[in-house]
């Protein structure tokens, strides 16, 4: 009998629980103070959930535990004792053959073990399934006995729904926490080999295979800021702000209807597309232009190319945040200004934009945090040379580019070179986190001012 069948049986039991619980509750009568507390449907759900939840929990746990038990039993058989193989490799191969993941054996001597494995597996499946069925029945029966007129089934069901929702959100929170912890942990190992001072303030970045090499990350930080926070923002802030102003203040509703979605499509373009656009179209054009006007140090991978394209990518973020905050300025401000004899553009410059500024600033900060974490464009267009330069035509590298660089290819997992990626990731994470917190605060403050 397969686990799926047991699942079906448990579900069947829950369904029966729902029917019987509901039917029992439906017989309750009474009015006024004696009115049954909950509608029959809630009692039905109460019984069904009691049948379902313990059994499913058990099956989930069993799913983790039983493979170990199966493997242990298989290794303990006299046949396997005769085979000269590492027990872990042995069980892995037998399992692969037994479940059909592998069709031909690497080690023919393990083939006789496959039927043994299948027998043991079935054995444990049945044990697990039967226990689950018993749990389902017991839970359902327990809940059924509690179905009384004054039993608050509705409240209980509500609590369970809340618990499920809480669980769902906890998964996201815990995952984040896990990622942060692993970042921290690996960074610690890195900082045991390379001093944090050298890492944060050193200006020479030259990781070598193994533990040698220098890890001064300042050129990376500078490259990231140069591309993501300076060049990209010089493009994105004015264009985003102006398009938001046009869309909210000047565009006819019909124009706005088609233009806004198109602008938002920019945000949905996969970044790899921007990446090859930057690398194949923009970067060569910029190099040729630089050569034409005689700017020295022009390289075919330039900070300018990556920054410009990233700026274009960021426009929709800035514009939609600015759009929201300008739209949130009450119409009465606009009317007040127009009624004073101000023109539309005076009204925008002197009243709307100043009033919307905190929201716009928040949007820009969010955009910056996105830009510095952006990877694809810079990997493809910014280059790998860790230059500390303010020349936009030369090649610079960024934190994300280097992380990709450090982790691709064959690497020993615990060399300083590999661990440096985690330290870089940690810095990036902290900076984006801070930017996000500040941005959200600014935006929230601003919302409060008008609501």
């Amino acid at each position: 009998m397969s686990p799926a069948l047991f699942l079906l049986l448990v579900a069947g039991l829950a369904f029966i629980g729902w029917i019987t619980g509901r039917a029992r509750a439906a017989r309750f009568t009474g009015t006024g103070a004696n009115r049954p507390h909950s509608l029959p449907g809630y009692h039905g759900w109460y019984v069904a959930l009691w049948a379902l939840a313990p059994a499913l929990l058990f099956l989930a746990v069993w799913g983790f535990v039983s493979p170990g038990l199966v493997d242990a039993t298989v290794t303990a058989t006299p046949q396997s004792a005769a085979i000269r193989l590492d027990p872990a490799d042995l069980t892995a191969e037998v399992r692969a053959l037994g479940t059909g993941a592998l069709t031909t054996a690497f080690h023919p001597e393990v083939v006789p073990l496959v039927p043994v494995f299948q027998r043991v597996q079935t054995h444990y499946d049945v044990i697990g399934g039967v226990v689950a069925l018993l749990l389902a029945f017991a839970g359902g029966a327990f809940a059924y006995t509690r179905v009384k007129p004054d039993f608050r089934a509705r409240t209980r069901v509500e609590q369970l729904v809340m618990a499920a929702l809480l669980g769902a959100s906890l998964i996201a929170v815990l995952t984040t926490l896990g990622i942060v912890l692993s970042l921290l942990f690996e960074s610690m190992r890195f900082f045991a080999r390379v001093s944090p001072i050298e890492f944060l303030f050193g200006t020479l970045w030259s990781p070598q295979t193994g533990d040698s090499g220098t890890f001064g990350a300042v050129p990376l930080f500078w490259g990231t800021i140069f591309i993501g926070a300076i060049i990209a923002m010089i493009v994105a802030i004015p264009l985003g702000l102006m398009s938001a102003i046009y869309l909210t203040q000047y565009a006819a509703p019909a124009t706005r209807r088609w233009m806004k979605p198109i602008l938002e499509v920019l945000a949905g373009v996969p970044t790899v597309v921007y990446g090859y656009f930057a690398a194949l179209t923009v970067a060569p054009a910029i190099r040729d232009f630089a050569a034409f006007v005689g700017i020295p140090g022009a390289s075919s991978e330039s900070a300018l190319a990556a920054g410009l394209v990233m700026g274009v990518m960021i426009i929709p973020f800035v514009s939609s945040m600015a759009d929201d905050s300008i739209a949130a300025v009450p119409q009465s401000m606009r009317d007040g200004s127009l009624a004073m004899g101000a023109t539309t553009s005076e009204t925008i410059r002197k009243v709307l934009v100043p009033a919307a500024l905190p929201g716009v600033v928040g949007g820009v900060l969010l955009a910056v945090s996105r830009a510095i974490g952006e990877t694809m464009i810079v990997v493809m267009a910014a280059g790998l040379a860790a230059n500390l330069t303010a020349n936009p035509f030369s090649s610079v590298t960024t934190v994300t580019t280097q992380i990709v660089q450090l982790l691709t290819g064959d690497q020993e997992f615990d060399s300083a070179k590999t661990l440096a990626a985690f330290a870089l990731g940690l810095v990036l994470f902290i900076v984006t986190l801070l930017l996000n917190i500040v941005a959200l605060r600014v935006v929230k403050k601003y919302r409060e001012a008008y609501e």
């Binding site: 009465s332 401000m333 009317d335 007040g336 009624a339 004073m340 004899g341 023109t343 100043p354 009033a355």
Partner: protein, 270 residues
């Protein structure tokens, strides 16, 4: 309609109502899309008098008031026909600059709407836009004069740099009046200026209207019958987009000619 015939009729109106004509409206219709909000309204606004617009909700008082400084231009679906003049000149004419018009015909709104700037900057906003003061002392003088006229100077003179939005509702509304006064308008339109205020703040505004009367032609929309009786000399009663009755406030309230007016004033509907 030609200018002379307009003036002819206006002269007759003047004879009928007394006072110097400031603004005239003739056969004004206003549409929002295809829906007509104002039907064939003709009315005069005189320099010396406060004119009150009364009528049940949705009858078009605000709509009509907004035609007088062309604020309806900001509503995409709104369309105005008919003749409206300021000092005899068509305000919807090709040679009328709407920006100039709004500097001459100021407006105070139902809800106080100071800009999120300092008190000083709120008042200085209009003069700055229109270039009324060339140096800081001139601007200081305009700000002080406007705040004094709005009866707010004593309360705020020590905190001109505080935000205008930090004032109380009544103070905010007087700040908005000061802001409107600062560009030295000829006409001030007020759309229910007291409806968001408590009785004491309301009394202050009414007092202010008394003081401003004569210096500016004032038009006020109000739902409060007593207020109309207290502050105005002329009253216009609107109903369903039409002007039902227009005359001296004392006549309208004591001796209305139309039964609809009488019913409304005595509180039988609306």
């Amino acid at each position: 309609m030609t200018e002379t015939s307009l003036n002819d009729r206006a002269d007759k109106q003047q004879a009928a109502h007394g006072g110097t004509l400031k603004m005239t409206a003739r056969d004004v219709d206003v549409f929002y899309g295809t829906k007509q909000a104002i039907k064939n309204v003709s009315i005069d606004v005189t320099q010396e008098n406060v004119t009150a617009f009364i009528g049940p909700s949705g009858c078009g008082k605000s709509t009509f008031l907004r035609t007088l400084n062309r604020m309806n231009d900001t509503v995409a679906s709104a369309r105005v026909t008919g003749d409206i003049t300021l000092d005899g000149k068509d305000i919807y004419g090709a040679d009328m600059d709407v920006v100039q018009l709004r500097a001459r015909v100021g407006m105070v709104f139902q809800k106080p709407n100071p800009f999120p700037k300092s008190i000083y900057e709120n008042v200085a906003y209009g003069p700055r836009i229109h270039g009324l003061a060339s140096a800081k002392p001139d601007m200081d003088a305009i700000v002080e004069k406007s705040l004094r006229r709005a009866g707010l100077w004593e309360e705020v003179k020590d905190r001109l740099t505080d935000s205008g939005t930090a004032l109380s509702g009544g103070q905010q509304q007087r700040l908005c009046i000061a802001r409107a006064i600062a560009v030295d308008p000829e006409v001030i339109l007020m759309d229910e200026p007291c409806s968001a205020l408590d009785p004491i703040a309301t009394a202050k505004i009414e007092e202010l209207i008394h003081e401003l009367r004569g210096r500016y032609a004032i038009v006020i929309v109000t739902h409060n019958m007593q207020q109309a009786a207290r502050v105005s000399q002329k009253t216009a009663f609107f109903h369903l987009g039409t002007l039902v009755e227009y005359g001296d406030t004392s006549d309208i309230f004591t001796n209305p000619r139309q039964t609809r007016t009488k019913d409304y004033i005595t509180g039988r509907y609306g």
